[in-house]
């Protein structure tokens, strides 16, 4: 029988575009140390470790064995889980199963990336088939630009609607001392930023960040002794549905992987009205148009209603369902850590440790991951043990 599992501690680096003062292992060590301090454990208390990043960004093969001096994996079970942008949620879900299996009581999940050591786009384009996709339609931006254009065409959404998402996330980031981009912006700033691929402009997309995140998962009966208010994992679901970018989105249906993953996770958690039931959502929104369209796929509002939902402030702090109190991916993007940061930030909200970015009395929180070929992961956390 699967055991109940909770998050009892989180740690993250202070994210920056370039951390020349530390190497990868030292950066991981910072996040791990902070996570252990957060839950007052020592590395000796950790039974197993799951780590993830994307190989080609730092060009390290076998990151699990490479990392042990920073991750604390010396003479411990450690494995690497990697799925592109969804790496962080994949690592979190793997740590969950380590504990749920009954084999390990306290497990450390680590996501990290030192993007300053890479050419991110050069590395990312190699995710596609070398013959069919790589030279035509690969990398992060082309397919997102297509999705955004199709959405605007279908529902009449505007570039200004999307810019509002960037302004919201960047404004929220001012409350998060760990965030990478902490400078306020206005809609005009987004609109006048350089066009990358229509309709995506520089301030519509996430930055490249150096950073790491660590999260401690613990078993029922152990978790309650570690944390006064653990964040219980209520459900999770994953859809890594596509292999080819040409197949990746059905523009008439939306982000199908997120629709499917969220409906499975909602069903397991007994959620029928997400916008009403969730107190906060930390969403992996790598670009602003996702902040319009994907909240529809999550069922926060109906198809085509995303722009109005955002414009009416429902996703702001104090709104119906605050989205990304941390500032989200548009403010911080250390890729292998990015989705784990969503899980960590959702847990922070439940544990009541959000300080300036805290949403009052969070009982139910959601985190998502996005990556690969329009893949989606959903993790639901709760103040109540499932």
């Amino acid at each position: 029988m699967a055991r109940s599992v909770a998050i009892v501690g989180t740690g993250q680096t202070d994210h920056k575009s370039h951390r020349p003062d530390v190497n990868g292992r030292e950066m991981i060590y910072e996040a791990v140390t902070r996570a252990l301090e957060d839950c007052e454990l020592s590395i000796k208390d950790i039974d197993a470790i799951v780590i993830g990043n994307m190989d080609h960004f730092e060009s390290i093969n076998y990151v699990d064995t490479w990392s042990v001096e920073g991750s604390g994996g010396f003479m411990k079970p450690i494995m690497k889980v990697t799925t592109g942008g969804t790496t962080g949620t994949s690592v979190a879900i793997a740590a969950y199963y380590h504990v749920a299996s009954g084999l390990f009581d306290r497990v450390l999940a680590i996501g990290w990336e030192k993007n300053s050591e890479s050419d991110t786009t050069a590395a990312i384009v190699t995710c596609s088939d070398p013959i069919w996709d790589r030279f035509s339609y690969s990398g992060a931006i082309p397919s997102l630009a297509t999705e955004a254009t199709a959405y605007m065409q279908k529902y009449g959404a505007t570039q200004e609607d999307a810019a509002r998402v960037a302004v919201r996330d960047r404004t929220h980031a001012l409350n998060n001392p760990h965030a990478h981009l902490r400078k306020p912006i206005k809609i005009e700033d987004v609109m006048s930023s350089p066009m990358l691929a229509y309709p995506i402009k520089l301030l519509d997309v996430c930055p490249r960040t150096d950073g790491a995140c660590a999260v401690v998962f613990a078993a029922d009966a152990v978790a309650q002794k570690i944390a006064p208010r653990p964040a219980w994992v209520k459900s999770s679901a994953v859809r890594h549905t596509y292999t080819w970018f040409g197949d990746s989105t059905d523009y008439n249906k939306g982000l199908v992987s997120l629709q499917e993953a969220s409906s499975e996770a909602y069903k397991q958690a007994g959620i029928t009205k997400p916008a009403e039931e969730f107190d906060v959502a930390e969403l992996y929104l790598p670009y602003t148009y996702g902040g319009l369209k994907w909240i529809e796929d999550l069922g926060f509002c109906g198809p085509g209603e995303g722009p109005q939902f955002v414009a009416e402030g429902h996703t702001d702090m104090g709104g119906k369902i605050p989205v990304n109190p941390s500032g989200g991916v548009i403010s911080t993007n250390c890729i292998g850590a990015t989705a784990l940061l969503r899980v960590a930030e959702a847990a922070i909200q439940i544990m009541g440790k959000g300080e300036q970015r805290q949403v009052p009395d969070v009982r139910l929180a959601m985190a998502t991951g996005f990556g690969g070929c329009f893949w989606s992961d959903v993790v639901i956390l709760s103040a109540e043990k499932p």
Binding site: V68, F74, K80, T82, G84, A94, A100, S101, R239, G371
Partner: protein
Amino acid sequence: MDSIAIVGVAQTKYERRKKDKTYYDLVYEVTRDALEDAGLSLDDIDNVITVSNDFLDGRTISSMAVGEAAGGYHKNVSTVEGDGAFGAFYGAMRVLGGFKTTLVVAHSKGSEGDMRYVTNGMFDPVYQRLLGLEAVSSSALQANAYMEKHGVTEEDFARVSVKNHGNAKNNPYAQLPMDLTVADVMQSKRIADPIKFLDCSPVSDGAAAIIIASEEYAGKARTKPAWIKGVAHCADAYFIGDRDLADPKSLRDAAQRAYGMAGIREPLEEIDIVELYDAFSYMEPLWLEGMGFCDPGQGGKMIDKGITTMQGSLPVNPSGGVLSAHAVLVAGLARIIEAVLQIRGDAGPRQVEGVRTALAHGINGPCGQSHCVWILAGNM
């Protein structure tokens, strides 16, 4: 631990170069064959673990290429980057944690890259990589350390190569079935002292898949289940200069925990066969020591006394081992598959009689830095 079992297995024949197939073709082939072996359909599988490595595939997010081929469409999927024995362990955790059936699939095409560069990437980019350290040269350091500490000889290693390539003659999937003599191995080209050409595993293309099921679902498969009695993994220090390379202590830790789960006290008496990760011939005796089948330094004698031959009391690598086929990442999963076939009695000409308990083993990182040990049994 709840009772869970491996109920379906499949592997490709391992070859130097599978020119006619992409690696997603290989993944599709073993996925289909594992389902057929188990007598299950894709609808019976509720989650999938793929195993891949971006360096080997020359592709970032290497799992992206195989999701469809592995039947991951509309399912909960994840990817372990590392040896298949580790990927299978995550698959097992997911069954223990609430899923009914996990399909685990690993692939690699060594022919499409250069293993020297791929394995050089394991080493520290600042201090070690420019020295040219890669799998063969680092393993040569380990073999030297082992010989120096315990007086094991090159001939001891050569005997492992002779035995395993001979065993491979009984395995239709093996890449290098060979009749060798100790003299052949000793006279083969010196690659990195003391490792010679015939002490090395080959570069291979191949794929493998297993299906792990909960107790309830194990009954739905048509195969005799191989029950998972114990599994554990552990990593040693990273810099090889920080380790005693002749003392595989992370393997000892993993083996002892796996034995503890399986209730094994005397491994030599209680385990009937071993399938271990012999990427180089010296690894077999060294890993046998780490697994507690003999005292430190006595691994060489295991083969001298005939204990590890097909006729011995503890046959090691009846399949021919990794020395006879080395699709990286796949190799650990292949060890598990071979152990399952031995337990089922389905191993054909390489079958050892009366196998009730088997050990399978995989490694990650340089010189066996990280080990994963599996104990499988025919009885629940």
